[in-house]
């Protein structure tokens, strides 16, 4: 509405007033002429004319853009009303702001992890093909695929128009000539990888068709992030040479900034070279490729799944030794990336919790609005008697609720800005998570707006409807002495507060169960000593350490030098850190009938040096440990863990028995079990233990391993010495992660403290909000009943009786609400255990403790107003009003 037209309208309205004034005056004159007194005539003329204000309003409405002007008027009026009672406004706004802030904050994670931007053209037609691992614990259907299967499946051109392979999660060292190397994570991808996404680099070119051939494969493509950070966004980088794993590579291109695929976002890409060996049947055990494919035109996901399940069955029949029980899974690209991240369940639970917090906040604000509506009953009655319709009054009250919610939403977004910063700071515990950008994006803003609106409606509809059901006569006449509608308002409030307490208790129990479950997992006995161990990861590149004798030589030299460091007690080298999930291989046991069933035996396989068990504190239970004489010339030996003995030897003595491991790329042969060691948790964050086989390092050295130093001093203090030794042995070999074992495990569980902190925050918020709710209810009811209390006191009731009465009434609401919440919370442990794999909730003691805490808090909230009720001065109470 422009200023001019406003001015114009103002004049119109003035004209109208002039007309009406004259009309009434003329009628009055006429009545005077009929012989009435002037005063009488004027009054009669006015009465006959009717409600001047209403008629003026209706006349004005002819000019107005349907109801916009009255909406503006409502908003102006609501703002004035809210400013007039700052205490109420502040409480309501802050309550809603908190509720909206936690929702917006959590939703920023949902937006980043569950609604990510997927780069590429027509990505809804892209799928990821993965293997289904029959033995995996976590997301078994996202297992990578072997090269022979990739070759077989990419030929299915009836269903796939293109398929590419990604050998992800490689670690390497990157440097420019003459610079210190740094370790990078990279992926080796088939040359058509970026083409399948329909994306081109922002600089340079994608891989060419022949670049997967040995001799042509020394090209790489940088991610935008690495290009910015390491190469200062140098536009002339394309064509330059960099060193990756001690070999010269030519930079072919730089990918765009938005090329992020959740967990599949490396720092650089090289071509994936697959050789004749990758076609051999033996290569089927080596599953390391993620297959990204584009569907052929018109092919549906169901058709692909059907085709692929036939292909998997065929493979099982043709290669039972390696493919038995292995299946295949096809998911859309988006679905796979999100599912593979495996964060959906946790986020869903968190969103439910913040949703509950918001409901509690809404109940509080609804309670406040109800209280206010009672106070304003006379105002509403006057407005209705002056011709305001019920719809108009409801709209006015709703407008107030919406204004509160919008202001609350604004403040909430402001708070959420900080909440999101806290969360994204906490979300840096691994590269994949740190790469996902959690921020207040448009999705979050939209969500906050919707949530604010829903909150407005939830918290103000009931009070508005209730208040508009005002009886004009009784409300104008009554002086608010416990009128019937007042009592009815109170019933609604009791209902609100009871519901709010039920929700809060439910939420508290749920949060405590989850926090306890996560805590127990994070503090379980791992089966080894995590203190006083320094670890470092190393990858020996093929350029310098081509064969296993060179690798072995390096490791011997390294171990010998590390032992010289003062404070180092033992040095161990192993293919895997304990508690970090070693790879699984099929096994055969001599003398045991080769599984007639479909079941293939399998076990985790780690290669360790003789000092490993004493260095990390895994106890030897039977037999012997490895010695220096268990080398490549000696008979092959292995050590197994207790779970292995339990599962495959039914706890009978396995010493002297022969087993065979189908390790990819290793000549088959029988090994003798020479020892049994204690169980180590497969993953530090999960409760399960899998059968495990340890092989002696010197019989099968590997290129990718971790070094562990058991020290008598603070392990972190040994870091410089470790780096120094490494730099002397090989200056171009950067260690991957130099950190203490404690840090390694903390890093693996870094998500847990954040999860626990968030849960705790939300639970406390729910508790505080519901306490405010019940405090408000009781305080209000005491205020309403001041006169009643005064009468009781005047008639001889003792102050203690009065406060006991108030306490009892408040406590009844708290107890009933708690009981309801308690009952609803009973099935939670089973629900959580089915949702979170590995979580063992079983903590019945949480229930009575949380219930008691809730009741104590409720009691505390009621106590104040109850005491105040007892201090009511009977004479003052009776005189008031």
């Amino acid at each position: 509405m422009s200023f001019l037209s406003k001015l114009f309208r103002r004049r119109r309205y003035d004209d109208l007033t002039v007309s009406i004034r004259e009309h009434i005056a003329e009628r009055a004159d006429e009545l005077v002429a009929e012989g009435r007194s002037r005063a009488e005539a004027e009054q009669a003329a006015r009465r006959e004319f009717g409600n001047v204000a209403l008629i003026e309003q209706k006349s004005r409405e002819a000019w107005q853009w349907p109801t916009a002007e009255s909406v503006f008027a409502d908003i102006r009026f609501a703002l004035r009303q809210l400013i007039k009672s700052p205490g109420f406004t502040l409480t309501a706004v802050v309550t809603l702001a908190l509720g909206i802030a936690v929702n917006a904050t959590m939703f920023s994670m949902v937006s980043a992890f569950l609604l990510p931007h997927i780069p590429g053209r027509d990505t809804q037609n892209m799928v990821v093909v993965s293997s289904v691992n029959p033995d995996a614990q976590m997301t078994p259907d996202t297992n990578p695929v072997s090269a022979p299967n990739y070759f077989a499946w990419r030929g299915k051109t009836r269903v796939f128009s293109a398929m590419s392979a990604d050998d992800a999660y490689r670690d390497g060292s990157l440097s420019r000539p003459g610079e210190q190397p740094e370790s990078v994570s990279y992926s080796a991808v088939a040359p058509n990888y970026f083409t399948v996404f329909g994306l081109a680099p922002v600089l340079g070119r994608a891989f060419l068709a022949g670049e997967d051939q040995p001799g042509h494969d020394h090209v790489l493509i940088l991610s935008h992030g690495l290009w910015e950070r390491r190469f200062g966004s140098d536009p002339s980088i394309v064509g330059r040479t960099v060193r990756l794993n001690r070999e010269d590579y030519v930079v072919a291109g730089v990918m765009p900034n938005d090329f992020h695929l959740l967990a599949f976002t490396p720092q650089l890409w090289t071509p994936l070279t697959l050789t004749a060996a990758d076609h051999a049947a033996a290569a089927r055990n080596n599953r390391s490729l993620y297959l990204f494919a584009r569907l052929a035109p018109g092919v549906t996901l169901q058709q692909v799944r059907a085709q692929m399940s036939i292909a998997a069955q065929q493979a099982q029949k043709d290669f039972p030794a390696t493919e038995q029980r292995w299946g295949v899974s096809v998911r859309t690209l988006r679905d796979f990336l999100i599912y593979n991240f495996n964060i959906g369940t946790a986020l869903a639970v968190m969103m439910c919790i913040v949703g509950f917090v918001l409901l509690i906040a809404c109940a509080n604000v609804a309670g406040l609005l109800l209280t206010r509506a009672v106070g304003r009953q006379k105002e509403l009655a006057i407005r209705m008697s002056l011709g305001a319709s019920r719809v108009r009054v409801v709209r006015q009250l709703l407008t107030e609720g919406i204004v509160i919610a919008l202001v609350g939403g604004g403040v909430g977004l402001f708070l959420a800005y900080f909440g999101i910063r806290v969360i994204s700071a906490g979300l840096s515990f691994n590269d994949a998570v740190a790469d996902v950008h959690v921020a207040m994006d448009t999705k979050v803003l939209l969500f906050a707006a919707v949530v604010s609106f829903v909150a407005a409606v939830l918290s103000s509809v009931a009070p508005a409807l209730k208040a508009s059901r005002t009886e004009i006569n009784t409300d104008l006449k009554s002086e608010g002495r416990g009128s019937s509608s007042g009592r009815e308002h109170n019933r609604l409030r009791v209902f609100l507060v009871g519901g709010e307490i039920a929700l809060a208790l439910f939420l508290l129990i749920g949060s405590c169960l989850l926090i306890r479950g996560v805590y127990v997992l994070g503090h379980q006995k791992l089966g080894f000593r995590r203190d006083h161990v320094l670890t470092a990861g190393l990858v020996l590149d093929k350029a310098r350490y081509a064969d296993s004798s060179k690798q072995d030589q390096f490791v011997r030299g390294l171990a010998a030098q590390l032992r010289q460091i003062p404070g180092v007690e033992r040095v161990a080298v192993a293919s895997d850190l304990p508690g970090s999930g070693a790879g699984s291989v099929p096994i055969h046991i001599k003398g045991q009938p080769e599984s007639r069933s479909n079941e293939l035996h399998s076990a985790m396989d780690a290669v360790v040096t003789p000092d490993y068990f004493s260095a990390v504190g895994v106890p030897l239970l039977h037999g012997r440990a490895f010695t220096a004489s268990d080398d490549g010339t000696a008979p092959r030996v292995v050590i197994v863990n207790q779970e292995f003995v339990h599962k495959y030897f039914q706890d009978r003595d396995p010493i002297g028995k022969q087993i065979q491991l189908d390790t990819p790329g290793v000549a088959a042969g029988w090994s003798e079990i020479v020892g049994v060691v204690g169980d180590v948790k497969t993953y530090s964050g999960l409760p399960n233990v899998d059968p495990e086989v340890y092989e002696p390092w010197m019989q099968r050295p590997v290129a990718w391993f971790s070094v562990m130093l058991r020290s008598s001093v603070d392990p972190d203090s040994l870091t410089p010495a470790l780096r120094h030794v490494l730099a002397q042995l090989d200056p171009e070999l950067p260690p991957l992660r130099v950190m203490s074992m404690d840090q390694v495990i903390d890093l693996q569980q870094r998500g847990n403290p954040l999860f626990e902190k968030l849960l705790g925050t939300f639970a406390i918020l729910a508790l505080v909000l519901s306490a405010i709710g019940i405090y408000g209810l009781v305080a209000y009811s005491v205020g309403q009943r001041t006169q009643e209390i005064g009468i009781r006191l005047a008639l001889g009731a003792k102050a203690a009786d009065i406060s006991r009465m108030i306490l009892r009434e408040g406590f009844k609401v708290a107890a009933i609400g708690s009981a309801i919440g308690f009952v609803f919370a009973l099935p939670l442990p089973r629900l959580f255990e089915s949702m979170f794999q590995g979580l063992i909730v079983g903590a019945p003691e949480v229930y009575p403790i949380v219930l008691a805490a809730m009741l104590v808090v409720a009691f505390g909230a009621i106590f104040g107003p109850a005491q105040r009720a007892a201090r009511v001065d009977p004479t003052a109470a009776l005189r008031s009003e």
Binding site: D15, E22, H23, D29, L54, K58, A62
Partner: protein, 114 residues
């Protein structure tokens, strides 16, 4: 209290029709308009002020009426309403469609009686 004027309206637009017809030959102010309709209809039709002023404003907005500052018979300032050319055209259309409708209703009623 506002009287419910809609119920006494003959049909939607009837009041507008009478206002336009009344102002057709003589511009008047609000009160005179009420009196005029009352007299002409022999007190059969009584215009509610609650309907009259909103109707006048609607007609003004649609450009069928025009208003100017003037004085009443007693010399008080008021607004005088007059019909515009567009108002005249609108009136003629409405009258003819009203007549058609009235004829139609009469016939239907006649059939009913038979």
């Amino acid at each position: 209290m506002a009287k419910d004027s809609d119920r006494r309206d003959l049909f939607p637009g009837a009041l507008e029709l009478m206002i336009l017809q009344s102002l057709r030959f003589r511009p008047m102010h609000g009160y005179a308009l009420v009196k005029h309709i009352q007299q002409v209809s022999d007190n059969l039709l009584q215009v509610e002020e609650g309907s009259l002023y909103p109707a006048l404003q609607r007609l003004l907005r649609e450009g069928l009426l025009d208003s100017e500052a003037g004085t009443s018979a007693k010399g008080r300032p008021t607004r005088i309403y007059r019909v515009t050319d567009a108002g005249l055209r609108h009136l003629e259309q409405e009258v003819s469609s009203f007549e058609k409708m009235f004829a139609g209703i009469t016939r239907v009623l006649a059939v009913d009686q038979a």
